[in-house]
Symmetry: C2
Subunit: 182 residues, 2 copies
Amino acid sequence: MLEYIILGLLMEGNMSGYDMKKTIDLSIGMFYKASFGSLYPALKRLTDKEWVSVAEEEGNSKNKKIYSLLPAGRESFILWLGEPLALSRNEFLVRVFFYDYLDDKTRHLRLTEYMHKLNQEIGRLHAVEQIVAGELAEIPDPQKHYFRVSVLSYGKHFFNMEKEYVEQLIKGAEQNHENKNQ
Amino acid sequence: MLEYIILGLLMEGNMSGYDMKKTIDLSIGMFYKASFGSLYPALKRLTDKEWVSVAEEEGNSKNKKIYSLLPAGRESFILWLGEPLALSRNEFLVRVFFYDYLDDKTRHLRLTEYMHKLNQEIGRLHAVEQIVAGELAEIPDPQKHYFRVSVLSYGKHFFNMEKEYVEQLIKGAEQNHENKNQ
DNA sequence: GCCTGCATGTAACTGGTTACATGATTGC
DNA sequence: GCAATCATGTAACCAGTTACATGCAGGC
């Protein structure tokens, strides 16, 4: 995934590996960690694939390398960005972080698909909860499984939170669209 | 972490590696994935450390191995369980899943500590949001950064959700306690 | 002259995954 | 007799971390 994050950062403008690390820490750092030990090898791979190009900054006499996005890199990035959103927190958020670069149609499709997945999960969790409640009623000390059972409730909290967020996202994107066409 | 999950499962009773995989998938599977390729080596390590013991089931003629918790394993598990809760979703939830085995006092302490951390994070995010809002007001096309900025809102949603969940957890644990003493 | 921050890189290690190999048991 | 599921295990691989090594630049 790191490779696509790098490509995404380069969509905004050229920068060095060091800058990328800083940008990642300050933006998606909350849910994605990048270390130099993973960043620099990733940049090497991207350069080898010719998805990005390097320019050694000579004027400043620093041994600093500025990376730029090549057309093949841009294509791969947009392709990756348009893939369906999976029910995995990090991937979901990283993609959404770059969703300003995705076309309105695909974006709306992916977000609605994701909503359906969330609803399915919530339904599934609800069913599991019913079963567990029945099982708990038949054992002597149900309170001894309080925390064990509570993680199901966490799941529901979590998916409902994501649902709210995605709903807001869709609404907000529509309003953005309207403003643009004014 | 997998080693501690195995120990936690064995707290409830003896089982085979295969059973562990099934149990994990059905309980914490939502936020923790275990594969046989990681499970079996982990069981090997635990046996070598003498934290668990193995019994080859012979009566059934199956080549099935039943694992049990040894005292050293139980100790290590309880020690691990009582460690402070970090702001990392998986670790947090896996520990809470096993919190029925933790003493009331440590449990209450760890949950309250975690609440403080959540409040700090929410405050920090709020501050970042203010700064970003100011920066957005000064650029020509703020709506072009709609999704990029929205992940901050996700962060707030997320931490507030966890806060609600932990609040509920603390309240529920207290009520459990009262019922026990009736 | 020294500390901090900028800047790049690598080697050893860790904790996993995927895919494969093997074989017993159960139900139809 | 065959498919599904139970059951264990390993080897190749992968993505990442930590710790280290190196050196320049700027401020005090």
